[in-house]
């Protein structure tokens, strides 16, 4: 008999809030976090809008009581902020007897620091160590004093979701009792310019699933959740149960989704199978919905196929936060869990007209008393990577 896995703690920092409460307030008040860049210095300062967190690295260090001189990249700092909140939210103490793991996903690790010091070795060589993805996860583990099981993954924009899936599986297999899992990424010039070369950035606030969508806004943040096996969290607050997950590959193109959206379809189908739920059991889908031409139409087609044209209410929350890359899967998992916790559906901002090829439109207003039982969260990324997670009300 597999262990059941519950979410017992959450922590988040994004452009719409520095903690869980602020994020929730912004979501229900339709307060987006898309703005010009103030913290990151780039030649594209005036032309691009992003979901930037308006705290400097020193502000973040202060919040963590870490000395100013330390070597952490912004990606690392964001993940520690979120992990600390999740850890406290779950009422955890360091060094209890539960076998605990830390698993974090990120796309480019400490790139925000590497790109500043790469050509200026005389000023700082710390970035050579902080560049790799594992550095961030280890710093989270060190901060929380977890020393048993630590690993990281990097699967582009589905990284955060895949970290959650691995944590759940390790608990189900009895290898871990508890997993502190999620994703993190800071905005970097590297990713900003990268998406720019692909013509995937919308110069205006992005409008996912809109007919006239022009692309995405890059964002930054971290989302960390605490997963625990049923037996060790009987007497504490359990937000929801993770009941389904699947990862599939579209195997079509390095950046574009196949016209028939095979990968996205398969991961939704397989996650449903894993959860033993039927499509009609899903009350809300937090879609990947980046606002790019290719993503939204293919994800829409996959939704129509899986739900056989009775698609449940869905929305992309990326118009709030921007696309937070490696963090997106985890941040949106948290929004999905908040949806269950508060019985609410968050709106898809900036939507005006449906995509002509699709017969579906996202939720555009806050829907309260939405009868939420099971929520699906999608994450897709470069390399054809696609992951679906399903969270269920207990």
């Amino acid at each position: 008999m597999e262990n059941r896995v519950f979410v017992t703690g959450m922590g988040i920092i994004s452009a719409i809030g520095n903690n869980l409460e602020e994020n929730f307030d912004s979501l229900i008040n339709k307060q987006h976090g898309i703005s010009k860049l103030d913290i990151l210095k780039t030649v594209h300062q005036d032309e691009l809008l992003c979901g930037e967190i308006k705290l400097t690295n020193n502000d973040l260090l202060k919040r963590l009581d870490l000395p100013e001189s330390n070597t952490y990249a912004r990606t690392t700092l964001l993940s520690i902020i979120a992990a600390k909140e999740a850890f406290n939210d779950a009422g955890l103490k360091s060094k209890d007897s539960a076998r605990t793991g830390v698993i974090v996903g990120t796309t480019v690790g400490g790139m925000d620091k590497s790109e500043r010091f790469y050509k200026r070795l005389d000023e700082n060589t710390d970035f050579i160590q902080s560049h790799n993805c594992g550095f961030t996860t280890e710093k989270v583990a060190d901060y929380l004093d977890v020393n048993h099981f630590v690993t990281s993954l990097s699967t582009a924009c589905s990284s955060g979701a895949n970290a959650i899936m691995l944590g759940a599986r390790l608990i189900k297999h009895g290898i871990l009792d508890r997993a502190i899992v999620g994703g993190t990424d800071a905005i970097s010039k590297f990713t900003l310019n990268g998406f720019k070369t692909l013509f995937l950035l919308d110069p205006n606030p992005c409008s996912p699933f809109d007919k006239d969508r022009k692309g995405l806004n890059l964002g930054e943040g971290a989302g960390i959740i605490v997963l625990e096996k049923g037996e060790i969290c009987k007497n504490k607050k359990r937000y929801s149960e993770i009941t389904g997950y699947a990862n599939n590959n579209d195997a079509y193109h390095q950046t574009a989704t196949s016209p028939d959206a095979k990968g996205p379809y398969l991961c939704m189908k397989n996650a449903l199978e894993k959860s033993k739920l039927k499509p009609q059991d899903i009350s809300y889908v937090n879609v990947h919905g980046t606002g790019t031409d290719n993503n939204d139409i293919t994800e829409g087609l996959a939704l129509e196929k899986i739900f056989e044209n009775t698609v449940p209410p869905f929305s992309s929350t990326k118009a709030y936060t921007g696309h937070t890359l490696g963090a997106a899967g985890a941040i949106e998992a948290i929004y999905s869990i908040l949806s269950i916790e508060n019985n609410i559906i968050f709106p898809n901002l900036n939507f005006k007209q449906a995509i002509p090829e699709l017969s579906l439109s996202p939720a555009t207003v806050v829907i309260e008393n939405a009868g939420i039982e099971n929520v699906m969260s999608n994450s897709f990324g470069f390399g054809g990577n696609g992951t679906t997670l399903i969270f269920s009300k207990e």
Binding site: C133, G134, N147, H148, T151, T155, F190, N247, A251, Q254
Partner: protein, 353 residues
């Protein structure tokens, strides 16, 4: 539930590609250790090659030969481990961006800089829509992938391609000189075991394995256990954990292990932790090492596993692997033990099948 290794291929700085035996003679490197590459035109068309960086080429070629050896490209998952991913493409995009002050840039190196390009490319080539994950956690990137593959077999999957891949570039090599990661040149890879100073040899490679729920006539070994520990700094605590897990997961005791393959890399401080374990826990076993073959890189343990597959299948340890004279007659169970400065310890146990 048993887990078998049915195919194993590696491209490395030695003559290892498509070889059934370990080489008797090793190639000597005084500096950086880069892979001996096959002619990629035998594997990919010009139009395919246009976008493939060196690591994508040697990763993909190794994966294809592993798939050929396994005799099936119907994989239920492709799982890769890579510490730094597509380094050359990352550096290219980063340099161009910095040199032009975020000027006119092209997308190809950016989109290929992601760690999961390697696994994605194999999925693309083999039309594989299944589970596809990439681990990137320093020296346990590959072991995380292997552990995930074991979980999938227990979940009912049949054939899983698992790989460990990293590349070294001149630029990264020079960069890491600044943090004293390497041996001062010239230093021969053949001298790492007797090294008395700090630093290791920079290496690279790709090793792929078909991990399967079914034994075949060609199976190399049974994979009994994959364990990782982040920071069990106290050697006796580490030993205790390993012993307990070995017992509970495989039913074996320490004495059942015949041969231990250590990740000695020439850095005298990091290697001292191997010596401690070797001289206390494994006094009665045969001992070997492998990084004089491949150099040190985040996924070098994947090459260690490739070495172990050859040793267990041939029941033979070449002299260039052995640390001291053989004590045991047969090699029924091998332990591969890797770590870096007493962190990220990994234990992989293989048994004859």
């Amino acid at each position: 539930m048993s887990i078998f290794i049915n195919a194993a291929q590696a491209i490395s700085p030695q003559q290892t590609f498509l070889k059934d035996q370990l080489p008797g003679e090793l190639v000597k490197y005084d500096g950086i250790m880069q892979c001996i590459l096959p002619d990629f035109k035998n594997y990919f068309s010009a139009i395919e090659l246009r976008r493939m960086s060196r690591i994508i080429k040697f990763s993909s070629a190794t994966a294809q030969e592993c798939i050929n050896e396994a005799g099936t490209n119907k994989m239920d998952a492709i799982i890769t481990g890579t510490g730094l991913g597509c380094l050359e493409d990352t550096e290219k995009f980063l340099n161009k961006m910095l040199d032009t002050d975020e000027g006119l840039l092209t997308p190809t190196t950016f989109i290929q800089s992601t760690h999961n390009t390697l696994g994605g490319k194999i999925a693309l080539t083999n039309n594989c829509n299944e589970y596809n994950i990439t681990y990137a956690h320093k020296t346990v990137s590959f072991e995380s992938a292997l552990l995930d593959a074991s979980l999938l077999i227990k979940e009912g999957e049949k054939n899983i391609l698992v790989g460990g891949i990293d590349e070294i570039t001149e630029e990264n090599y020079n960069l890491r000189k600044h943090i004293n990661q390497w041996k001062e040149e010239p230093f021969s890879n053949l001298d790492i075991y007797n090294s008395k100073n700090s630093g290791c040899k920079a290496g690279e490679g790709a090793a792929y394995f078909m991990v399967s729920s079914n034994k075949t006539d060609n199976s190399y070994a049974e994979l009994k256990m994959t364990d990782i520990y982040y920071k069990l700094k106290n050697p006796s605590l580490l030993a205790e954990n390993f012993k307990n897990n070995l017992k509970s997961k495989t039913g074996m005791s320490l004495n059942d292990i015949d041969f231990v393959l250590f990740g000695f890399n020439g850095d005298v401080k990091s290697d001292s932790y191997y010596h401690q374990i070797k001289d206390t826990l494994f006094k009665d076993q045969d001992h070997g090492y492998f990084k004089h073959y491949c150099g040190e890189y985040d996924t070098s343990a994947s090459f260690g596993l490739w070495v172990a597959t050859r040793i267990i299948k041939n029941n033979y340890i070449p002299d260039n692997i052995l640390i001291e004279k053989r004590k045991r007659k047969n090699i029924n169970n091998i332990l591969l033990f890797n770590q870096e400065n007493n962190e990220n310890h990994s234990f992989i146990v293989l048994s004859k099948c």
